[in-house]
Every structure is written in C-alpha cells, then in structure tokens.
C-alpha cells in the first residue's frame, strides 16, 4: 500500500498495536529442573551432615563452604523454576482444575527458604514432597499421566516422572 494512502488512513482511523506472540520460548515448561534442584539440595544436606564432625582443617572448610554454597544455589534455582511455571503456565483453566496450586506454590517458597537457612533433612524431604505434588499437578494439567520412581542417583529418593 502506498505510504500516502496509509498515512491518510491512519489520520482518519484509530490505529493501535496488537501482538500475536508472548514470552519466548513458547510452551517450554518442565518441573524436572525444580525436582533436580531439590534433589541436589537434599544431597548437600546429606554431605554436610556426613562431614560435620570431621577434623576442621582448611580442606574441610573448603569442602563445607562448597556444600553450603551449592545448597543455597539449588534452593534458589528451585524457587525460580517453580515461580516461573506458576506465573507463566498456570492460567484460569488450570487453576480452576487445581485450585490448590497457589497455596502449594507459596508453601514451596516458604519451605525452600527454610531449607536454605537451615541444615534440616526432614524439612528438605518435606520440600521434595511438595515439589513432587507440583510436578504431578503440572503434568495433570497437560493431560499427561505420571508415576513415582526412585531417581537413579543419590539421594535415591522417589520423584514424579511423566509417562510420555
């Protein structure tokens, strides 16, 4: 269309911008990242507890610092992965089907913070149960069946896997 004609049309008709795409990448959501982060956090708790009574050499300090740092990092990753799926994936149809999702997400945020602040195996296992439930809901919202199976690496705990 010639520019003159276009400019004339724009002067007499209201022109607004509309989009046709949203966040990129589209549709790529997977709670497995959150599950792996949770398992890593639990593994760090186990390692901290395993070595806590060892002789406090410089090597020990280095090891413990790294375990603590990794626990903190994975706690943060877990929170971010859950937050993104909750905020970007769950919309009215999914929330209607799973009304517990808001409270569950908030509970995961609180539990993950507690696990970052403390070295508490029981709290970290409770966190994993919540993350598993979140994963179950996510896959259920997509119409995909899930199963619980022991992960094939330490801490060898049961986690939710999609049945694809």
């Amino acid at each position: 269309m010639p520019n003159k004609t276009l400019n004339l049309l724009k002067s007499i008709l209201p022109v607004e911008e509309a989009g046709a795409h949203c966040d990129i990448p589209c549709k790529i959501y997977d709670p497995s990242s959150a599950i792996i982060a949770c398992l890593s956090l639990i593994r760090m708790v186990d390692l901290i507890n395993e070595f806590k009574d060892a002789e406090q050499t410089i090597g020990w300090q280095n090891k413990m610092s790294r375990f603590i740092s990794e626990k903190e990092r994975n706690g943060q990753i877990l929170k971010e992965e859950i937050r993104i799926i909750w905020g970007d994936f769950f919309k009215a149809p999914q929330i209607e089907k799973y009304p517990e999702i808001h409270e569950l997400t908030h509970s995961i945020m609180m539990s993950a913070s507690k696990c970052k602040q403390e070295v508490d195996k029981e709290a970290s296992l409770a966190l994993l149960e919540k993350v598993n439930r979140f994963a179950e809901i996510f896959w259920g919202a997509k119409g995909i069946q899930t199963k619980k199976a022991k992960c094939p690496y330490p801490p060898e705990l049961e986690v939710i896997y999609p049945q694809l």
């Binding site: 520019n3 509309a18 989009g19 589209c26 919309k91 999914q94």
Partner: protein
Amino acid sequence: MSPELQDGDYVLVLNKSVLKPKEGDTILFEHDFHGKLLKKWSRKTETGVFVDGVQKHSIDSHTLGTIPMKDIFGKVIYSFSA
C-alpha cells in the same frame, strides 16, 4: 500469527456489533496480562472462546486461558503489509 501475519502488518478489524466473529476467524481481543492480541477463534467453551495461533508451537488458550466474549473487539477482515 506467522505466516498469515508478519511483524509490522496492518489489520482492519470490524467491531463484533457490526459483524459477529465465528470459529475460524482471526479475532482481536484484550488479554488481562498480555494486552491486545490477535489469535484464531478455535472453538466456543463454557468459559469463553478457545484461541489458537497458526503454527503448532504457537501459544493457545492452554496458556492464555479462554477469552470472554466481552474482551473480544471483533474480527480481522483485511490485512496488508506496509
């Protein structure tokens, strides 16, 4: 809405009070989070209109939610590239 619509294209939208949009039409609607969007009317549901893009990886109402009729402006009747 690629390849039907490309970035920078102009569309002419007719208000729904003049011409009622129906299944298969490209509609303009207001989304409470993403603002004004153009998508295809896929089907009517109890809660609103289920919308979809053109390509299989486009986001649809599984992500956007269904669109209430009150949030639909109208249908695209003409489009062109500047």
